[in-house]
Symmetry: D2
């Protein structure tokens, strides 16, 4: 019963098969192979427009490269203060962007509201030599607390930043889960709502190590070839990533995997709600469930061998906190989570 | 007949099999998986001592992380002026090391002689505030021109830098080819000869994307966990690299692959010598053959569909240059090169 | 009636005289001149211990060099969220420190309390690869809101960070004002209370462009010669800064100037209190007065030609905010402020 | 008899007077003062066109900011291998430009020939992801060996780089000496010949610490306000630099000072030539004399108390080297050098 993260399983069978099939023969190096070229075309099709795509092997690399491409060293990136780019990448964005500043903002469930962004921008004087200049807003879809932005919410955020010219980045480590949950097209939830650059995650959704930086305005990607290369992220045998994405994108496999993970999390959340003995910290909108655990409950779960991690209370609704002894447990479902895993967990929750 | 590079083939069958076998089940993330742990132990065994090992997916990442770990932003890395770290990594070492300087030195066949290093050091004043401080010597084994350093040659280089306290890095993108050629132990050609940190290459020798930074003095690796993470090179599903190395290191597979590649190159070089109509730019000591091609010969090879790349004449012996119209063709053999590929190429060379 | 800042006046007469006197003859370059050497000895005397001193021409340079010397690129500096290093140096610390992170904390009047620091540290996991590592606490003395830390308060902060090994930096752009206000020795308020490195400000206190980075543990300064040089802050004619400090430090001139500035601010604060019609945002403890200004009062002051700047309300006591229409006006006194300037301002405050 | 450098004297009397006169009263901070504004206008007048001017206190800062403004982190700056930016600034350009590469080229007397630049560019593949991209040529006027580029020579260099789009930077630490020597207008030797950005030196020519970065295409300077601030080079009391330049630029004072320094060097060179017993390494075209000194001559000069520094032999004409025991002595004249200093030195040279 391991619900620690969605990065613990290997690759899905079709992805693994695609990797296997890609092994034969010689192929041009450094992303000039046929797999990568086909994947670039698949992304254009998926997003219904011309895009510039750069494949890498980690989400941290994807995010840091995306941010560095559109933010100057004296620029600032606004994001939630618990966003992965702010809190979990050991300063990778600052490293790649030559010392740019990540400005953390509050928001329930790690979602940002337009007013919060507008207020922050009002406190950052344009043209002041003394302050870093806001140049990007980064949002996470689904968020670190498992919530999902709707297209109109993203459009509202874009409207909040447009007067100051900020670009909009979406950290889509769990983009597939969000799209599966929303039931909208990838285009609707990205560039049609104002997203300029997307980190399209594959690793948490059935790939082994496959992430794509997708620029919806290809001209913005002019620097990327050099940025990626000098960061050591231009693989010589690029088909290794290309093949994974080809496996993922074929026949909607990526959405199928994400839909399954979402369904498992939904089943878990619904089961907990039906039990009525445990409160969720945030609604379950994608593939993660966050449960508020009294100390005894946490101990019981651990004693029964359930694996999960304690989560921060920093994105609870304003004014709502944990009681003494309570913690938040994060339970993540992935493409590899089986219904019986969820059922076993629910059975433990059902105990006193 | 593609002799462009040794990074065009996929993975060897045993490596692919190891990747496949590693796919099942859940595994701890970020390099805490069993595969990575086993590989760390395998490296200690291979080098007959305690080592600190960090797996990454590209040689550029391995080199840049190794250099940045032991060189300050105001430090200088001495190396051959055509070394990969100087000429082919788009400034990755400078990026990772916060602006350190790469100082290129001359040397026949991309090999450095101790006198050249000593002379350069004499021109760099210790303690001068105005100059970057030499802190590392980086050598490539086998070199970019396919030559191999013997243990005594490496020891002599270490002796040249020891009085000034420089560390010795070995870019071992083709380390396997060098070890196979020398017939010595990995320990003899590295730490026993004075190497402090090694980029151990797997990608050019049967892996898909697997390189290891090996510190022979583990204390020197204290910063690496953070350096690697913030560069986006700490894969969440680390077993992807671990499994490749497990496949490579098992039963001397890595040396078998390299030995084959060397044998193919040796067959090609010997065949050319036997023909007597083409001069080699440098001796064939590992898996590469560099032939001096008059214009007609180059045209003929291209016309017959032989794929190879033109190589720099910057490391020819001092005073020895190309005649007008001549170029240097690089022919690389890999684990996947077949004897019949070499024979077909030799047949073309045999033509007038 | 210009109360905008204490960086608007030129140099005090003795400082200017010292600069004038330093002009004659040839002198060794790059800080090897007699003035700089004498000033290094004066600082050792002033702080009653061996120190390593580096003179520069701006406070931003002093702070950024101090931070970069003791924080790694993956390190974090804790400080008040309105500290100069966080909010007014356009990311200089991030630039100098290779992308380190500045973590802003709350605190009334820009003063940090030990509990706030302790709480923040508890949220930063030691040894996590995913998070930057806290390595320094930076406090401002006097703070950006004109408050002063007592020696015991600084010792308490040091006690809060000592278990995690953070270094303590003091941004002393207004160090002289703080020392004059406290009436303690420079040693008591710095290294004896736990400060590791001090930015000793001269520019706001009678110099033209003179700041000193003072390391109380000289071994910590080993990198500074190269850091300063490659930042362009090692002046060839170093006596320009040396002479200013020689003028400042002679005969306690620096404390006399600061005492005067403090007295002028104290006179202003006392006068406003006596009038009883205006509330101060924070107590006047050094050379700055922050008045809460209803809109009509602000308009009146501006109309009468009083120059001052609007200040942030971000460091008001928790739960205490401005009424609609209210702003905070900052009134700064310097060595050049005359009693009659204060009296004229008070006369305007006395008006309805 | 100190001929070590032209950075050992203080300020010229008019410059010191201007500094003194600038001390009175309050002035706007951060370069918004009247002195700085007047100097900006003076530079526009001097160069007969609109310019963007940024004042700083060191030549290293001026050069590094100029380079970083026009070169990306994966860019390369071509320059002479003994250029100050390559050899004497401790990696400042690499630091400011985020790890860009300085590529050193050969050239007699530290002058670059168009063919050398063209050859180097031919070796740098455009659009290669593996190599840094050449983006700037930096030349030094007068060179580190005291030679002067004529306008046509600069135009030829510009013609060599124009097809690849490189910008042209002039390190003018001794720009005044070059202009005084050439007798041309500042415009003719800069933007009219193709220079894009100039480091205009004041410190070596009568100022205490005053350098200007002059962009001839103001649009290229858009980033400079932030770059300068975050490097700590935006002085709060900016009039300190403004006043020095006002003193220098008034009534051609800067050219008068440089002309004197050149005359002193010319007198020294002519005197040595007349003696006929010492060979010069390079022609004396500005304010420096480089003499080839047999060991006995060097010992004699040192014994007689003549101060000078040993210079590199790296820019001697190709194929022409020093005899065993010979060194090159650099003798620099400044605005403060007196005829009798030169005469005393010549008298010593006249001795056997």
């Amino acid at each position: 019963m391991n619900f620690v993260s969605d990065n613990l399983a290997g690759a899905s069978a079709p992805v693994l098969q695609a990797m296997l099939a890609a092994n034969d023969g010689l192929a041009a190096a450094y992303g000039n192979d046929a797999w990568t070229k086909r994947v670039e075309a698949l992304f254009a099709e998926l997003f219904e427009r011309e895009v510039a795509v750069f494949l890498v092997t980690s989400g941290t690399a994807a995010n840091a490269l995306a941010l560095a491409s559109l933010v100057q060293p004296w620029g600032a990136v606004l994001c939630h203060h618990e966003a992965h780019v702010a809190a979990d990448e050991c300063g990778a964005p600052e490293f790649f962007a030559g010392g740019a500043k990540i400005v953390g903002l509050p928001g329930e469930g790690c979602k940002l509201a337009p007013e919060v962004v507008t207020d922050q921008l009002a406190r950052m004087r344009p043209d002041s030599l003394h302050q870093v200049q806001p140049q990007m807003l980064s949002i996470t879809q689904a968020t670190e607390c498992g919530l999902v932005y709707r297209p109109d919410e993203i459009a509202a955020l874009k409207a909040a930043i447009a007067p100051r010219g900020l670009k909009l980045h979406m950290d889509g480590a769990r983009f597939a889960n969000a799209v599966a949950a929303l039931g909208c097209s990838p285009a609707e939830i990205t560039w049609k709502a104002g997203v300029d650059v997307l980190s399209f995650g594959g690793t948490k959704n059935g790939a082994f190590a496959a992430e794509a930086v997708v620029f919806f305005e290809p001209a913005c990607a002019a620097e990327m070839p050099w940025r990626r290369k000098r960061a050591g992220h231009t693989l010589s045998k690029g088909r290794l990533i290309g093949a994974q994405f080809e496996g993922l994108l074929a026949d909607g496999h990526w959405l199928g995997l994400a839909g399954h993970a979402n369904a498992m999390a939904g089943k878990l959340a619904a089961g907990i709600a039906a039990l009525g003995n445990t409160q969720l910290a945030w609604a379950c909108e994608a593939n993660e469930v966050f449960a508020i655990l009294p100390e005894a409950r946490r101990d019981q779960l651990k004693a029964r061998g359930v694996q999960f991690i304690d989560w921060s209370d920093g994105a609870l609704p304003a004014g709502q906190g944990l009681e003494p002894g309570e913690t938040i447990g994060r339970f993540v479902c992935s493409f590899a989570t089986r219904p019986e895993d969820v059922e076993r967990l629910l059975a433990i929750f059902a105990e006193a």
